[in-house]
């Protein structure tokens, strides 16, 4: 059970690293929510706990702050940087700029290739189904001509292809969902890393 002041202090602390205007705006909002409830007669501690888990609140605020804004704010020099540091950074840029860039490009291309693989797997599954259906039709033809063993063999293969196709499709769908969740979590993690709260 927290009182209003402890909640606000904790909130400010957990939001540290975000742009100042975002921190202040969020704090004002939640202060207002608590005060309005108190005004209606709700006891202070109850008003605070009605807001829910503070980490969930921080998570939502973080998720809603565009990553570009966080990076921009981080890059703004808050204190004066010594001209030596600036000179070093500029002179060294032919080294660290390509490095950072290639790290980023590598991660990005790996990510894109994972999606490419998934797409080709879906395509494979689709062609397997088509082949399987054609196989069933042809095996029916064999059965009509009383070529039972050939028909049976072909039918078995066709069904196996269709079965594999269904399996591949199901696995791909699961992987897509996992990948999307992983991507969202990574963005959240990246934001946290930038504002200095690596877990």
């Amino acid at each position: 059970m927290m009182d209003k002041n402890s909640f606000i202090i904790a909130l400010r602390e957990k939001l540290k690293g975000l742009p100042t205007e975002d921190i202040e705006r969020s704090v004002e909002y939640y202060k207002e929510m608590i005060d309005d409830q108190i005004e209606e007669g709700i006891p202070e501690e109850e008003a605070v706990s009605s807001l829910g888990n503070i980490d969930d609140i921080v998570q939502k605020i973080l998720a809603d702050t565009p990553i570009t804004k966080i990076v921009k704010d981080k890059l703004k020099p808050k204190k004066d940087i010594s001209p030596w540091v600036i000179a070093l950074l500029v002179l060294g840029s032919p080294v660290w700029v390509p490095i950072i860039f290639s790290i980023f490009i590598t991660v990005f291309s790996v990510y894109i290739s994972v999606w490419a693989v998934l797409i080709s797997l879906f395509a494979t599954a689709f062609s397997l189904i088509v082949v399987g259906i054609v196989g069933i039709i042809i095996s029916a033809g064999f059965f009509f001509q009383a070529a039972i063993s050939s028909g049976g063999a072909l039918l078995g293969i066709a069904l196996a292809l269709i079965g594999s196709s269904i399996l591949i499709t199901v696995l791909c769908k699961i992987t897509v969902k996992l990948l999307i969740t992983l991507t969202q979590k990574s963005f959240l993690g990246l934001k946290k890393l930038i504002i200095g709260k690596a877990e």
């Binding site: 005060d35 309005d36 809603d64």
Partner: protein, 106 residues
């Protein structure tokens, strides 16, 4: 309710809560609650998003010795509500179709 559906509806609900007159955070939640579950932490990003898309404006005013934020709908916000109403006219007629009574034979 389907999460994606709810998310889209929440935006519209918030706009509807302020369509006739400006309102403040806590009151918006109370007005929406009978229709859709919404928490304070859910409302905050919605208000932010609506503001950055210029569907509403914010101003601070004094209330009982403290500052309170009042949200007012814009023309764009009203237009969004109109779009919503038109979209859902279609949905409603489809609902009538799905829900129609079985015809008795003979």
């Amino acid at each position: 309710m389907d999460i994606q559906l709810k998310r889209g509806l929440l935006d519209v609900c918030v706009l509807a809560a302020i369509k006739d007159e400006e309102s403040y955070g806590y009151k918006i939640i109370k007005d929406i609650k009978p229709y859709l579950e919404i928490s304070e932490s859910t409302l905050y990003p919605i208000l932010r998003r609506l503001e950055t898309s210029s569907l509403l404006t914010v101003r601070s005013a004094e209330h009982n010795g403290r500052l309170r934020k009042y949200y007012r709908i814009t023309h764009l916000g009203l237009a969004r509500l109109e779009d919503f109403k038109n979209e859902w006219k279609e949905v409603m007629s489809i609902y009538q179709f799905v829900n129609r009574e079985e015809k008795n034979d003979g």
